[in-house]
């Protein structure tokens, strides 16, 4: 056989075998067992399983087949699995997105005649012993009373107080949320150290209190997000990044509830796992917020933006975008110091119902000098199916369900202590700016809003613009004469302005209105000290310490007052405590040194 002919035959035979294989592969039917069940297990059964968060299971071939037309509609539209961000280079943990190949596999299962293949259902996630992912929790806190989610009506946005009963500070390594009801559409875990949530709860006749956003004293853990969505795995913090839950703090569950058609009792639980490991890494949260946008009715082009200059090298761990119903697109980009741009997040079809936290698979490095930008695009036209008004109405920032918001929160981990300091300062500047913008917006909505005057006054106090602060705080006191906090802050402004008599009156009003206002008692003591009345000051400072034995400033002031009253021996333990609590307090250190030396000298001279 000539060599060329041999080569040709070999080529033909090879092509024949290969093409037969390809054809056989293309022709082999999709079966439930081999292709569909693994796909459903990957993307669906975390919710669609018996007892799961979704309203029906997708476990057997029949379950999937009988709902196939609905499944087809929602996967083609990208509405299921629920995952808002578009695909991008920097991937997020737990992305729940069907690839186009997976969608084609599903569709081919129908074309191929719903073949079962081997028998068997979708593999379910393994059962967790005792029901909690990481074994027996250190603490399980539960809503003390059940709340009944109404059968129908608008969605319910409600906060629930879960007292922890903790008598010591603990660090939370992991937490898990158990809704116990399919009505919970998403939830945020926050905490409250000052009883603000309890006060709101007491004002509402039902269990919990309403609100799409939380009052200012109710905050997520410092530097962390704590968010739950149906199907999302429970949260374990990276090593060295446990968050602090202070003694006596209440956990507060901010829940979005969807009526199901029948009244449903809700009594959610949160399991907590503690760690004794000291934190070695302290993440920070940066907020990009816009309070000043106006969205005219019918408008489709309003974009709320905000920028943040990253003042120190850090790794971006995750993002939390937030807006209400008129937002259609949310984008976050980073402009790096070399001028290049990096997409951090793009949500092409924002849906408030499926909001959540997005943590990167690999942290994104943001060098010092990076500019992060948020853009929230609004659609206030009648064509926006989520527009709560028909006809559309002018909409602005606000906390109500039919108001709007534009926020993007970034969780970053500074690379060095110096970066942390720089970033912290940047955050403080940004926060002070935001507090002013936010409260000005509140005053625009209600020119007699005492809380807005109070917050603006506090912001100006922290900026050392004390005269302006005093002017605003006088107005806060006029509008809310029963607010001990307003009197206290005004007293503080007067004290800084050295108007001691006026300051004293305000602090006296504050403790009359709220005898537990530790800082007001302490400041009464400081006013008396400044007025040359150390003996009177001692009484007020002792009262402050009775209420808060860990108040470093009160210990320092009491030490000073006792020393001025000729009671040096009594002063020493307070000064020692002040230095222990606040090692940077040079004044207390110096006075302690002098008093201890004097005491020692006296003792040495004693017979």
């Amino acid at each position: 056989m000539p060599r060329r002919l041999f080569q040709l035959l070999t080529l033909l035979l090879t092509w024949g075998f290969l093409s037969a294989g390809i054809l056989r592969s293309a022709a082999s039917p999709v079966t439930f067992h081999d292709q569909v069940a693994p796909l459903i297990a990957r993307h669906c059964v975390s919710c669609h399983r018996p007892g799961g968060a979704a309203p029906f299971p997708l476990v057997s071939a029949e379950d999937v087949r009988k709902r196939f037309r609905e499944i087809e509609e929602v996967v083609r539209a990208g509405r299921m699995p629920p995952w808002l961000p578009a695909a991008q280079e920097d991937r997020f943990q737990g992305e729940r997105r069907l690839s186009s190949e997976e969608v084609q596999t599903l569709l081919k299962w129908r074309e191929d005649g719903w073949q079962q293949g081997e028998t068997g259902a979708v593999p379910l996630p393994p059962a967790v012993p005792g029901g909690w992912t990481w074994g027996t929790p250190d603490l399980v806190v539960r809503m003390p009373l059940p709340y009944t989610v109404p059968a129908t009506g608008r969605d319910v946005y409600r906060h629930f107080v879960l007292p922890t009963g903790l008598t010591r500070d603990v660090r939370i390594a992991a937490w898990e949320f158990r809704a116990g009801s399919r009505t919970v559409h998403h939830a945020f875990l926050k905490f409250d150290r000052k009883g603000e949530a309890r006060r709101h709860d007491a004002m509402d006749s039902e269990v919990g209190f309403p609100g799409m956003d939380s009052p200012s004293g109710i905050q997520p853990p410092n530097g962390h997000f704590a968010s739950w969505q149906p199907g999302a795995p429970p949260t374990r913090n990276p090593k060295g990044m446990a968050w602090l839950l202070p003694a006596g703090a209440d956990l507060v569950l901010q829940a979005h509830l969807q009526p199901s058609g029948k009244p449903e009792p809700l009594q959610a639980e949160v399991a907590l796992w503690f760690t004794e490991d000291p934190p070695s890494r302290a993440p920070l949260k940066l907020g990009l917020v816009n309070y000043g946008f106006v969205i005219p009715p019918g408008s489709t082009h309003v974009v709320a933006t905000d920028r943040f200059m990253v003042a120190g090298d850090c790794d971006l761990l995750g993002l939390l975008p937030h807006a209400h119903y008129l937002a259609r697109r949310i984008e976050a980009t980073a402009e790096l110091p070399d001028g290049s741009r990096r997409q951090l997040l793009r949500i092409p079809d924002w849906d408030f119902n499926w909001q959540g936290v997005y943590l990167y698979e690999k942290p994104v490095f943001l060098p010092q000098g990076t500019r992060v930008e948020m853009r929230v695009h609004f659609d206030n036209s009648a064509a926006n199916p989520r527009n709560p008004f028909d006809p559309p109405r002018e909409t602005r920032f606000g906390l109500g369900t039919t108001d709007e918001m534009a926020e993007l929160w970034l969780q970053v981990l500074p690379r060095t202590d110096d970066s942390a300091r720089r970033l912290g300062e940047g955050i403080l500047r940004q926060t002070a700016r935001d507090v002013v913008a936010y409260n000005r917006e509140r005053l625009r909505m209600d020119p007699k809003d005492p809380v807005a005057y109070l917050n603006l006054g506090k912001a100006f106090l922290s900026r050392q613009q004390t005269t302006n602060a005093a002017r605003l705080l006088v107005r806060a006191v006029e509008l809310a004469p029963d607010s001990d906090e307003a009197h206290y802050q005004l007293g503080l402004a007067y004290r800084i302005l050295n108007a001691l008599e006026a300051a004293k009156r305000e602090f006296e009003d504050a403790v009359r209105l709220h005898p537990g206002n530790t800082r007001a008692w302490g400041n009464l003591g400081l006013v008396e000290l400044d007025s040359g009345n150390p003996a009177t000051a001692v009484g007020f400072l002792r009262k402050a310490l009775e209420l808060d034995p860990a108040d470093a400033l009160a210990h320092a002031a009491l030490g000073s007052a006792l020393q001025q009253s000729g009671k040096a021996a009594e002063a020493i333990p307070h000064l020692r405590k002040a230095v222990e609590l606040a090692p940077d307090d040079a004044g207390s250190k110096e006075l302690l040194k002098v008093l201890e030396a004097t005491l020692l000298n006296r003792q040495s001279k004693a017979p």
């Binding site: 129908t152 969605d155 058609g261």
Partner: protein, 209 residues
């Protein structure tokens, strides 16, 4: 123009005459204790197939399709029942229809234990109503006259824009508006809207008993 009351034009006169002629020709409301013989029979809670019983003076028969595990029909059920409560005294006969062929009497009974009992519940295992009136999803509202003329077929209201697309609250109450207009005017206009929900699962062809 002589012979006409003052203020009436010839066009008014013709329109009134036509309306009277139409009213005279259309079927009368069902008499006391009658059943809607023009409508297909349905299976009652006991599983027995029977014609739909209608109270005397019934002007419209309204069905909303339900499924035991369709979250959309479950969510809209209280709104439908509230509407039924409001219009029950106006000669409107409200019913709840479980059209899925694979849902058993026991499953329906369990669903009604969980969601309460509103209007009378029926199953349609033979698909008589589903096919005749072109019902496709749960929930879907169908309103017909006792002699089977279409008043309305479609969504209860527009809370759902698509599967997974939900408004904070309904903007348009299309069915309620149509019903009110029908009760005022007395003649059906066959209004149709697109219903959003879970596909009805029917048997491939009518089963024989």
């Amino acid at each position: 123009m002589r012979g006409l009351p003052v203020g009436l034009t010839r066009r008014d006169f013709l329109a009134a005459t036509a309306a009277l002629a139409f009213a005279a020709c259309r079927p009368l409301a069902s008499p006391a204790g009658d059943t809607a013989s023009a409508l297909p029979p349905l299976s009652g809670p006991d599983g027995v197939r029977r014609p739909l019983p209608l109270a005397p003076g019934t002007r419209a028969v309204v069905m909303m399709t339900l499924s035991v595990d369709c979250p959309i029909s479950n969510q809209l059920l209280p709104d439908y029942r509230e509407l039924a409560r409001r219009h029950a005294a106006e000669g409107v006969s409200f019913h709840e229809l479980y059209p899925n062929v694979d849902e058993t009497d026991a499953a329906v009974a369990e669903h009604r234990d969980a969601y309460g009992t509103g209007a009378a519940a029926w199953r349609d295992p033979e698909g008589g109503w589903t096919r005749r009136f072109g019902l496709t999803v749960t929930p879907q509202v169908l309103a017909v006259t006792p002699d089977g003329r279409l008043i309305y077929r479609g969504r209860l209201h527009d809370r759902f824009e698509g599967l997974g697309v939900r408004r904070p609250a309904p903007r348009r109450m299309e069915f309620a508006e149509t019903l009110v207009r029908f009760l005022a005017e007395g003649h059906p206009r066959a209004v149709e809207t697109k219903a959003i929900g879970c596909r009805i699962r029917t048997s491939p062809r009518p089963a024989s008993r």
